[in-house]
Amino acid sequence: MRRKTARKWAVVLCLVMLLALVAGCGKSETPAPAEDTIKLGFLGAKTVKNANYGIPGEKGMKMAIEEINAKGGVLGKKLEGIYEDNKGDSREIANIATKYCTVDKVAAMIGDPATGLTKIAADIAQKNQVVIFSAGATGTGVVEIGDFVFRNTLLDKFAAPSVVDWMINTKGWKNIAIITSLNNGYSTALTPVFKSAIEDKGGNIILEESVNDGETDFTAQVTKLKQANPDVLVFTGYYTEAALIMLEAQKQGLDIILVGGDGLYGEDLKKLGGSAVEEKVIFYAGFSADQPSPETDAFIKAYRAKYNEDPDMFSAQYYDAVMIIAQAMEKAQSSDPKVFKDELAKLKDYPGVSGNTTFLPDREPLKSPVFLLTVKGDKFPALLEKIPTSAPQV
């Protein structure tokens, strides 16, 4: 008898799960009739890992699409965003990118904020001849994947040398320690950029350490750091680990400035780090809500009105990405990625809300200026200084 009831329950459970599955599918496929819209696929994490980049990114993208649609859309068609959650996972993003390209037939994918994941999606985009436009991938080897691959963000290879120059020549911090997060592709790619810049500008790297994302025990590394006593610490990973390193430093009585890239751009830096990071963590980014340009100002006001919070770099860059793609489609008079990608590559001096963008001949974005940001009191991020981007020889 018991076994029979158990079996009944199992059947009921299976049915419920099946129903949930069907309901779930229904939710993600609510589009208007297919041909009347131009589809854009969102790449980014809304849960698990890197959600702090994906969630504002999605908001920025949605806002841009709504604004364009309110003005009549692109080429007489409405834009339609599809927003899947890739959980910051390399398998998930491969599945989602393939779905966007083959099932949804999107014109372009926007994202991912992370370099490693962008590369995975870019391979798929290039093969399927769909434009991918990353609003955050700062590492190397992205646009090299092919002519359908674009990005619009302040590149580490332009920003890091400017920041190192500021550290050594403006601040006089010559003895530098570097910490890398080994299981973080962004970090392992950024460390060599910093290291070569430090060598170029005449600084000394006196200690190199490493951590892993997801770890919480940094006692040993900080003890070593304390003994080496550098002028400044460069950390190339993300905000969570940066906050935890600084908390450990505070615990061990080590007073030090931590400098890093836009991987530190997450509100959790302040929430987690508290007094340990206040005016002690400095990072660069291509966007700051302080001292806005007229375009940025309008964007910030609209964003605040819509979401009741301040936009960050990712919301601004996803917003710009949609706007830039829409403009390229209009200019090319086509929403076919094979056609409008060439128009996209010609972008010059685009006054976006996340700064000024020009695509160089190799399709790499040159953005200016570099904002040095920090945590000040309750304010995150607070503008510390604006420094010029060290432009490459074109």
């Binding site: 702090n52 919480t216 040993a220 070593k224 908390l247 615990k251």
Partner: protein, 291 residues
């Protein structure tokens, strides 16, 4: 620096030991690797965080509260995910069920609390004192003392009480113990409760010490603690303590004197070495396979 790193290592090691005890106790009795154990530790950290933020309780109460909740959670997991499978199916099924329970708990917590890393409000003074060349923070002292206290308590419980005697009997032979009139299900329930309580205490202290609580914190901690339990000899309670502390110290010393890039490689390399030289673990007993 050696002394300082030793203190760092002992602190890390005692937290591993607290979690490792849960693995080893459960394994000792039902030969099940309870993969959901790391998640119990995570839930403990969150319950403590909730108590502290909602009612502003002190460390002791937060720990007791977390231990109580996790005791019930541990027993529930056992009741729901393992007991229905016990004896009826292969040894593999409860293991898969354990993985499921682990994923269920971490995802549930991610839904309830969000995926962001949270920090504890400052309920313990985290500043450190200089003892000669060594800086020791009050939280480090608390972790060392509380862990030692809990481990001694566990030892007394297993050696000196009736339920402890029942546990030892069950670990020797579950069926024979049942034939002698021991309520095996109740003993297993208690084992899960005690192991979970230790993990919860560890979760709260680690949360405060490292200032970081997040839904997926149990996975890596669980893995490390599991490795510690295996290294010490799975099934052996002193082995889990020794394994945890050894693993913590080795990890820290690896970072301090070899390279932080090889931190996990060193720790797990030594684990493999131990298993090659002493397959039963440092303090494990050679098991003659029951036929």
């Amino acid at each position: 620096m050696l002394l300082q790193q030793l203190v760092n290592g002992l602190t890390l090691g005692s937290t591993y030991a607290l979690i490792a005890l849960g693995y080893t106790m459960v394994y000792g009795i039902v030969q099940l690797i309870n993969f959901a154990h790391g998640e119990i530790y995570m839930v403990g950290a969150f319950v403590g965080l909730f108590l502290v933020t909602a009612w502003n309780v002190n460390l002791g109460l937060a720990m007791l509260g977390a231990m109580a909740v996790c005791m019930m959670l541990g027993m529930t997991v056992e009741r729901v995910a393992y007991r229905p499978l016990r004896g009826k199916s292969s040894r593999l099924s409860p293991l898969i069920s354990a993985l499921g329970a682990s994923i269920f708990l971490s995802t549930l917590m991610a839904l309830l609390a969000g995926v962001n890393t949270r920090r504890y409000p400052a309920i313990v003074d985290l500043s450190s004192y200089s003892l000669g060349p060594v800086q020791v923070s009050s939280m480090q002292v608390i972790i060392l003392l509380v862990s030692a206290f809990l481990m001694i308590g566990l030892h007394m419980l297993v050696r000196r009480t009736r339920i402890g005697k029942a546990m030892r009997a069950c670990s020797q032979d579950l069926e024979a113990a049942a034939l002698m009139g021991i309520n095996v299900n109740r003993v297993i329930s208690y084992t899960f409760a005690i192991g979970s309580a230790l993990a919860a205490a560890g979760g709260v202290m680690v949360g405060i010490y490292y200032n970081a609580v997040w839904p997926y914190m149990g996975t890596m901690a669980g893995l490390k603690a599991f490795a510690a339990a295996v290294m010490g000899g799975i099934g052996s309670i002193p082995g889990a303590m020794l394994g945890g502390i050894t693993l913590g110290v080795l990890e820290i010393m690896g970072v301090a004197y070899i390279s932080s890039s090889f931190k996990d490689a060193i720790a797990f390399g030594i684990l493999i070495l131990v298993l090659i030289l002493r397959p039963q673990g440092i303090l494990g007993q050679k098991i003659s396979k029951k036929v």
